[in-house]
Subunit: 684 residues, 2 copies
């Protein structure tokens, strides 16, 4: 009698599986490379009717009265459901349980020992389950190494099959075509809620009855040996050879249920929903029915060249590059989270909408660092055009952008961001921000009003406002609006070899009573911002700074923002001072930002490579953030702004700075000068 042979099972990982593996690795597994459960879906081999010619009858009856057509092999697929908790298999798919392990390095993946161990453990568990109550007869294995920088996946499936020696024999004497109803079997299977690749079948009083494989003895108690039938979802593509999963079932039946003969129905799918009957096989007596000797097992899948080696799929070359970039950017950030900072709320950072006022040296570097943090919404405001001196210092512009008078900086910066990372949501707004000390001619009032409205709307649409302009007075309006709207305002300004980076304090009246409110850019001033732009010499028009200052200040500004956003108190975070100083203890580790200190102001000095952390309280006569100014704007709106733009002393009178100044002058006059230390030789 011929020995029974089996058709090897094929794996079929879908693109969606790799996609879900990527997500799992990034969001859940991270550096975890331990084993996990996986679910596969076995589909039956299928006869596809040859509709191509309609004339060919050659294949008919070759396999015993079968329909004309082409056999398509079933396979064990893994897809987007495999690694999740979700289930719900489609049509005739059979859910199969397996073990999955994703290695962290290609070296680990390649190590034979790792794979052998996994395989052996799986076989051991299978045999152990046979002793008690098998839940699956064909646990499969999938080991992977995902190179997520390139979207190349190395993988290797194993379908461990216990080896029966000398094997099963096929006794087809008296074999007869199966005339049962496959659809009915499937229905019964569903009704009995039998899971797995096989079930038992008998006919009692003319009625079909099905039952789970493990209940063989009781199920077939009163059934003749020749009528004891195993029904098995067969993924075979070669009708004469049953599929691989049958091996372990037969092994189990022989060794653990003492079965010596049985009939097997290989259930297969077919085009048009018809089912297919295949031959019936009978088992030979097992060589040894002892369960103590551990059988050998085989089953690593061969690669496409037929070698026992892993397979590789390169999705990088076929994936939508924009999506690739998207995921790659995420990856870098998620690695930070995995490795050092599990508390990092990356989504919160990515969702922060940033308005950059100024698209010059600071604006360009700030935008780049924001993109590094995964920030997806970046809007530029500027009114200048790209000039020839810009590209070497402003890292979003190129020589070409300077030609023909220069592109508009804001739009050009936004275009550049898009070229760097198409997933970013960015735009440029060509806008001149109205300023105190720059009077508005009556004819320009309407256009200045529109500019204010544009800025107002932009600030509403964003979460954080960066002040990155090149003049003092242009920061005033957004400072006031920032206070009115309670936005986070980050301010950066450059000196020749120094810089200031600060966050403005919260709006007046919103701080907790016990907290001192932090100041804004203008809190240290005793005069209102005024025109500093007219009469500027060439060196005042260009930002004359050591080239290293801007990238340092810009990166510091963004890091300050990210630290602040991650702080439990957000905009109300108290000002951290340098580590070791007295007030740092105020914000404990748990209460603060996972990223470290969240200072109020940073002053950097490149000549000493030194950074100072400074805290400056809000000043109640400040022309930028005092309640007086904020309230005046809330009450009078544009009319108040117009006075600030047009009237030299308006802000000083409004805040009372003018009186302070007068008092100061008066006080000076009353001082009884001590001339003894005076350097001037004149004496009274």
């Amino acid at each position: 009698m011929p020995l029974l042979q089996f058709t090897p099972l094929q794996s079929r990982p879908s693109a969606s599986f790799w996609s879900s593996l990527t997500s799992l690795k990034l969001d859940t597994l991270k550096l975890d490379d331990t084993e996990r459960d996986i679910q596969g879906f076995l589909d039956e081999g299928m006869l596809v009717k040859d509709r191509g010619t309609g004339t060919s009858k050659k294949k008919e009856d070759e396999q015993g009265g079968q329909e004309e057509g082409v056999w398509v092999a079933g396979s064990l697929g893994v897809d987007e459901r495999s690694l999740g908790s979700g289930s719900g298999s489609a049509s005739n798919d059979v859910a199969m349980k397996g073990t999955f392990r994703n290695f962290n390095t290609i070296e680990d993946f390649r190590k034979v020992d790792h794979k052998k161990q996994l395989f052996d453990e799986t076989v051991d568990r299978l045999l152990a389950s046979f002793e008690t109550e098998p839940t699956t007869f064909n646990p499969f294995l999938l080991v992977t190494y995902a190179d997520l920088k390139k979207y190349v996946y190395n993988y290797w499936f194993a379908f461990p099959a216990l080896v029966e020696k000398p094997g099963w024999e096929v006794d087809d004497r008296g074999m007869r075509p199966w005339t049962g109803d496959a659809a009915e079997l499937r229905r019964l299977e569903r009704e009995a809620q039998i899971e797995g690749e096989a079930f038992l079948h008998k006919v009692v009083n003319g009625n079909s009855v099905v039952g789970p494989v493990k209940e063989w003895k009781t199920f077939f108690q009163d059934v003749l040996e020749e009528d004891r039938t195993l029904v098995f979802h067969d993924p075979t593509s070669i009708p004469s050879l049953p599929g691989w999963p049958l091996r372990n079932i037969l092994y189990y039946l022989a060794h653990y249920q003492s079965v010596q003969r049985l009939r097997v129905i290989c259930l297969r799918g077919g085009s048009g929903g018809s089912t297919v009957l295949d031959k019936v096989y009978l088992s030979s007596p097992p060589a040894s029915s002892s369960t103590s000797a551990r059988p050998s097992a085989v089953g690593w899948e061969k690669n496409v060249k037929g070698a026992l080696a892993s397979r590789t799929v390169d999705l990088g070359s076929t994936m939508d590059p924009t999506r690739l970039a998207d995921q790659a950017v995420d990856l870098n950030l998620k690695l930070m989270k995995w490795r050092v900072m599990p508390d990092l709320a990356l989504d919160e950072i990515a969702a922060t909408k940033c308005l950059l006022l100024g698209a010059g040296t600071l604006g360009c570097y700030v935008a780049r660092t924001l993109m590094g943090w995964g920030v997806r919404t970046i809007t530029f405001v500027d009114s200048a055009k790209v000039s020839f001196s810009n590209p070497v210092r402003q890292p979003l512009f190129e020589f070409e952008d300077c030609l023909g008078g220069g592109k508009s900086k804001a739009q050009c910066a936004a275009d550049s961001l898009k070229r760097i990372f198409p997933g970013v949501n960015t735009r440029g707004v060509d806008l001149m921000i109205p300023m105190p000390g720059h009077p508005v001619a009556p004819a320009s009032e309407a256009s200045v009003r529109r500019s204010v409205e544009t800025l107002d709307n932009l600030m509403d649409e964003h979460d954080v406002v960066y002040l990155l302009m090149d003049s003092r007075e242009s920061r005033w309006l957004p400072t006031v609006l920032g206070n009115v709207k309670g936005k986070i305002v980050i301010n950066a300004a450059l000196g020749f070899d120094s810089y200031l980076v600060m966050r403005h304090g919260p709006s007046p009246g919103t701080s907790k009573p016990e907290q001192k409110r932090l100041g804004c850019y203008y809190c240290n001033d005793i005069v209102a911002p005024m025109d500093s732009l007219t009469d500027r010499t060439l060196d005042q028009m260009c930002t004359v700074t050591r080239p290293g200052v801007a990238p340092i200040a810009s990166a510091t500004a963004v890091e300050l923002m990210v630290s602040l956003i991650q702080h439990s108190q957000g905009i109300h975070a108290p000002a951290d001072l340098a580590a070791g100083s007295a007030t740092t203890a105020e914000s404990s580790e748990a209460d603060g930002s996972p990223l470290g200190l969240v200072p109020h102001q940073l002053r950097g000095f490149l000549a000493q490579f030194r950074t100072m952390l400074i805290e400056g309280p809000a000043y109640d006569r400040c022309t930028g953030c005092s309640a007086t100014v904020v309230d005046a704007y809330k009450q009078d709106g544009f009319a108040m702004l117009l006075r600030a733009f047009n009237e030299d002393k308006f802000l000083e009178q409004l805040t009372g700075l003018d009186k302070l100044y007068e008092e100061g002058e008066a006080a000076l006059e009353q001082v009884d000068w001590d001339d003894s230390d005076a350097e001037s030789g004149a004496s009274i």
Copy 2:
């Protein structure tokens, strides 16, 4: 008798003038806006023969027997000679002296008072010179405002002319064509070394004699009034009206030499070298010969529309954009020099050839900061390709560079630099740097040898080598070669929220005896660099750092290099520590770098926004910079490197680190452990 009228003078600033003004402003004037001497060149009006048709005789005799042709006006030109000390006027040009003032701001330029004051002062000086000895009769004025960011020049010429009231009358009764020899006059003028726009002429005994205008009285002592002749280089384009410069000469003669009548020869150029005779004019008696009443003066040039307003020339739109960019980049740097740091040797920085090993996050940011400093030679070395996660963190790459498997990083970075600034001299070298712990298979020996040679040659061709790789061991070979060649080596390495930036010390044996030699990257190690690349997990392959760290570290690295280059002792500069610490005094201000401290190592901690300045001495068993290692390489060359690549313990044995380790282990064993503080509960 008709009143004498004058043709206004035209200015003719050449493009080369604006170019020389640009240089003067950048290199010499800087923010100096005081008055300076300027030289103009007056050329004569000229009859251009009408060769167009050859048939037209219409114009003949219209102006009294003149040749057929078209009159072309002469003008007062300024060119590349005008602002310099050089002279040498071409052909018939007459050098004219003037006053030049370049304002720093457009507002200053526009101020009427400024211009009026200049004009009045010029007239006053002219009148004062008339009292004593006039050196010029027509001092001109040029005020400018140069917008060097856009290459737009605002300018206004004035040719001050004293107003004679009621004016001169022309008495052409008895007027006769001048039949003299213009060429002879010019020859005599040259021989007599008479400068200026006019001279005197008489005939003595049939011989022509010339003399300076100021010597009128003695020169014409014995000459009949009707033969007293003034010869004047006339820029007129209208033959019947003499040119503007004649006004002041006549005023001088009338008021300071009491001349009432004279004959004037208007000397003009002509096509074919012929000279032109014009009418003779005689003066009317001056209204008042008193010199005490200050005459009024006119002479601001009208603009092209005929209005009394300044003119503008926009060279930005016509200049070669590459040159524009070149100058614009220079400008920003020169402004630094003018404003704050006259000692800065910008040329030295620009000429520094930089080799960047690594074109990743650090390499890209370093290159950008170098370009900001005007460094013109930047070479990248890298062996990787641009991947999708790169562009948001590596500011020389874009999304497009990642497609199709990614461009080669080194070349792509170089191409990007060229797009930013076409004047940069840059290239990318695709090279894998051989590393200790990464054994070389015999079959690869030849190619590794070539890689070493390539790196060796590259290091020879550059002044500064930046180590910007992402592994420890890849820095070893360039560290050794840097010591062998005595190059400045700048090293930058990133942690998650920290960085190291350092300069390697000078080669062993080259330091002054009293100075301690500074260490290299490996001086703190007690093990040799080894393979850290194999078995890396995803997070170890990507640079997992807060996005702000790289721009800060890169900018710091470049600023450290620039400070070092500007230090009087260069590579031998002692290590500055933080301001206020003990050893800072070592390098006094005068002896040090104009840019400030030149530390040895900087360690930055973003979580505290803190930077530490560290000094680390060279270690005599260092695997990177010790004399042992450098000498071994000098002696055995590639063979020594090969052993370092291939043999795990070679470098440790070579330097004696292995013995140190053994001694340390032995020492540990002999320690009499005190268990009282041990946390482990086990006791003996």
